[in-house]
Amino acid sequence: MKARIYVSLKPTVLDPQGQTIRSALTSLGFAGVAEVRQGKFFEIELDGLVRTEAERQLEQIAQDVLANPVIEEYRVEILD
């Protein structure tokens, strides 16, 4: 089973990397780029788990390890 966990900064947290990318895009001539927020995703492959257990584990991995709930939010996506 494959899954992706997307982690991004909460909208209330300043993202200086995203801001720098936005201004780079603007200076490269891409018109109309209003905002860029940078995040990351993790591709995870799980073996030998029933789906409900896999989902539970992915949720726990995202919540406890991959994201810091103080500054980040996450989304778990099951690919197959």
Binding site: P16, Q17, V65, L66, N68, I71
Partner: protein, 222 residues
């Protein structure tokens, strides 16, 4: 008074802390490996600066799961003095021993230079020998030192007199200029600047020694 300095793989200010305590403060100091389940018989613990576990994922994110951190949690819950410097502050925040988080500097650059700090409170075991408002000079060296917490937490920190140090001239975008904070019980402090790198004239400042002297004085009267 006996100090323990925790050593994570990737710590690089552990020897600086050891030197500051044993040579310039004059107290015994020992290293504690990150896989230790116990802190031995130390009276205070220092989580030093560096890049624990390579700072992969997020600064301090992997370190919080190390065996020694379970021991640090118990030690803190029993009222032991815990000081987290730079990466140590990030680890304390990741572990939930201190509120908030340290994120990328607003200007994106790693900053390594001397800064001036305002001592916001002397009501702590880490600043009891300083006076409120006193300026201390010590260096910072970090890429992720921008203190972030939600408004409610920031208000709470201020209302409870838990902001210990503020930058006189905010170098990294930290909210409300915060450079160091206390837990509610006031026995755990995290700060981004390096007091251990300001403990003798040759280092350019001896102001950081005040933090360690305060800890020794606070320990002596309890």
């Amino acid at each position: 008074m006996r100090f323990g300095v925790v050593v994570f793989p990737g710590s690089n200010c552990d020897h600086d802390a050891w030197y500051a305590i044993s040579r310039n403060l004059g107290c015994p100091a020992e290293f504690i490996w990150h896989q230790s389940q116990s802190l031995g018989n130390v009276d205070a613990v220092i989580l030093p600066g560096g890049f624990s576990y390579g700072d992969y994922l997020r600064c301090g994110a992997i370190a919080k799961f190390s065996p020694v951190m379970a021991a640090v949690r118990r030690f803190a819950a029993d009222g032991g003095l815990v000081l987290g410097i730079c990466n140590g502050f990030q680890i304390l925040a990741e572990s939930g021993l201190l509120p908030g988080a340290l994120i990328r500097n607003r200007g994106l650059k790693f900053i390594c230079r001397q800064v001036e700090l305002e001592t916001v409170t002397a009501n702590s075991p880490f600043t009891c020998l300083a006076s409120k408002g006193q300026t201390l000079r010590m260096p910072i060296a970090h890429g992720e030192g921008c203190y972030y917490a939600d408004e409610r937490t920031l208000d709470e920190l201020e209302a409870e007199d838990r902001v210990v140090f503020r930058y006189r001239d905010n170098p990294n975008g930290s909210l409300r200029d915060i450079a160091g904070i206390l837990n509610r019980e006031r026995n755990v402090m995290g700060l981004m600047p390096h007091p251990e790198r300001a403990t003798e004239p040759l280092m350019g400042s001896s102001d950081g020694l005040l933090v360690f002297r305060s800890m020794a004085a606070a320990f002596a009267v309890r």
